[in-house]
């Protein structure tokens, strides 16, 4: 069996497991009930991720190259805080926009970035709420407040009406700030690419008119 075939076979089940993982992770933090069930789901999914990692590594023709190319996968496997980010891998599966060439590439990148940022805001708010809400002197004391804080942070507005006070919460915050810088970069780049296309298209039309 090749690694491509394994990937194709496991893609949908792993995506469903990731959604299940995120649901259990969210429930555990937001509701705080059925903790054993959540714990089981989270760890079973995590174990399956580990098996998938080992099988993929075994099936790869050049194991060392695959290992280097999938370092991030290993990181999301080892560090619990990054596990929900596995879902980002499946965003690429959704291919909706498929019109002309230039706009198709931009459409796909826009969609991927939107899904990724939305997911990062949600997971960031969850992790922040989990880290902060019981800390002494905390201002992020509810999940809606954590969501509000995540939006304020990711857009780099940073009012400072609520902000993290624990070391864990501040690490999550740094992650969201970097997402914010990336977001500004992606939006700028996307509009740049679009404007360059527009200016070129107009120039071509004008040139065609002049030639007639």
């Amino acid at each position: 069996m090749t690694i491509e075939k394994w990937d194709r076979l496991t893609n949908v089940p792993l995506f469903i497991l990731s959604v299940l993982f995120l649901a259990a992770y969210s429930w555990q933090i937001l509701k705080g009930t059925y903790l054993t069930a959540c714990f089981v789901i989270i760890n079973v999914v995590w174990a399956i991720y580990g098996i998938d990692y080992l099988v993929s590594l075994f099936l790869a023709p050049d194991k060392w190259k695959w290992f280097k190319q999938n370092l991030i996968l290993l990181v999301t496997l080892i560090l619990p805080v990054f596990r929900p980010l596995r879902l980002l891998r499946f965003v690429a599966m959704l291919q909706i926009f498929n019109r002309s060439t230039g706009s198709a590439t931009r459409g796909r990148i826009t969609m991927y970035a939107t899904c990724a940022v939305t997911l990062l805001i949600y997971v960031g708010a969850l992790a922040e709420y989990s880290a902060e809400h019981t800390a002494p002197g905390a201002t992020i004391t509810s999940f809606p407040l954590a969501l509000w804080w995540a939006f304020v942070t990711v857009t780099t507005v940073g009012y400072g009406d609520v902000c993290p006070v624990t070391p864990e919460g501040r690490c999550v915050a740094v992650g969201l700030m970097m997402t914010g810088i990336a977001l500004i970069g992606i939006v700028s780049a996307m509009i740049s690419s679009w404007i360059i296309d527009q200016v070129d298209a107009r120039s071509s039309v004008q040139a065609a008119k002049t030639q007639q």
Copy 2:
């Protein structure tokens, strides 16, 4: 009757109705008098919007395609908070800058973006004032303060001297923050496109000189 003809016929009346809508919406929030008159104007304009939507859908050759392309129109129709944004559609009508090709495209985008951001700041400040000024513990207690807050938010400066405390106010804030990210993106892209043109123009001049 074709949809293009309908569009051409209804463009100016719908623009005037949109201005009337914004005036009634502003008056209702800022003055709080003639509430019945404002209510009538807002709802009549809304009903006319609905009729225009249905007629356009009926006239469209490919109804499903038109429906997909005008989803945003449906959103501005259904959600009251987005209705003032209908005015953005008419900004495209104003075509002032018409010099050379590259700068003409940039000129039109600049003008459109400036009008759109100005309108969004104004409508955002209105909606924010409406949502916040009666809330307990609110800091945005007057329309000038709401305007100041809108500028601070849209430029992503975010001093935090005044900031929203109600869920509705925070939703409006998230909208303005996103506008801010888009604004940074547009300004970056515009200057990028202009600089690339400048560098190319200089290179051409230099090349021409060298060839002589």
Copy 3:
């Protein structure tokens, strides 16, 4: 006499007058002494600006076109708050960087932008200090604090430890915030243009190597 000749003749004297103007404007706000002398200098320079404007308009071959192209000049003439910005016109005179084509254009734009932003920060801090330092509840109570506030605002960081409370101060703040957005845009665009050149240069080198 043509308008080009008039421009060439008046360029240096007007630049010196602008520096004098800025000195008098700064002295008046920061020291508050010799107010009559400052008042005289400011108004005499302003009158000379007005005469220059009228003479230029008289000498222009197409008066209406010149008027449209120099609307900003008229604005800096009429509104006192924009008068120090006249100095921006003279930044273009300093032409230092003159190496290769692409980098020369970027060099000139970088230098112009640096001078413009520095001048805007200084004038913004001056105007802010002038508007705020006597207001009740003001936090910007000294010129160093106003400078600190100007840097915090122009980089869109916006700590909020000091921020304007008067309507005039807030107008100046909005101006500096917009300068900040423009600054981010210029820096992004400049680095974009530079990176595109780098990637192209490397590609050419690589292509040349491959062809051999």
Copy 4:
């Protein structure tokens, strides 16, 4: 001996000395023990830097040109606060990414920028902590807080929960804010360049398909 040979010979020893310098500088501020040893290391390294500067200037074929091109080197030599930034010079030595042309250039710039920003955040936090922690009314009273403040500043989020109050601390802050603007610019430019490549690649693929 040529200047290229001198550079090649001194590169590794100077890099090691720079790391030693940063270690002594950090130890001095963070631990406050072995102050004499730190003082000796810092000043010996500084003296060696000075000797390297003079030897390089002596070996340069065109001394005046070398002097102009290495003004920043002189600045890092004279102003103590900029000395740790010497390490930036050695980041260029690490050349890891070397795949295709376009992505290789971007890879190298990304790596350089990441190292530079990381170093600037660390050194900025050190300098900030050193300047602030004993000031009356200071909020940046520990090194972790200074690091948190540095991240909040460099991403231009600026919560304002901790912010500098001393003139020195504010100068360091302005430096970090400018780093932040540059960071946004680099990220935007990098993603722009990448997207333009992606769109071009897709267009080529599409064009090839159409021709068949």
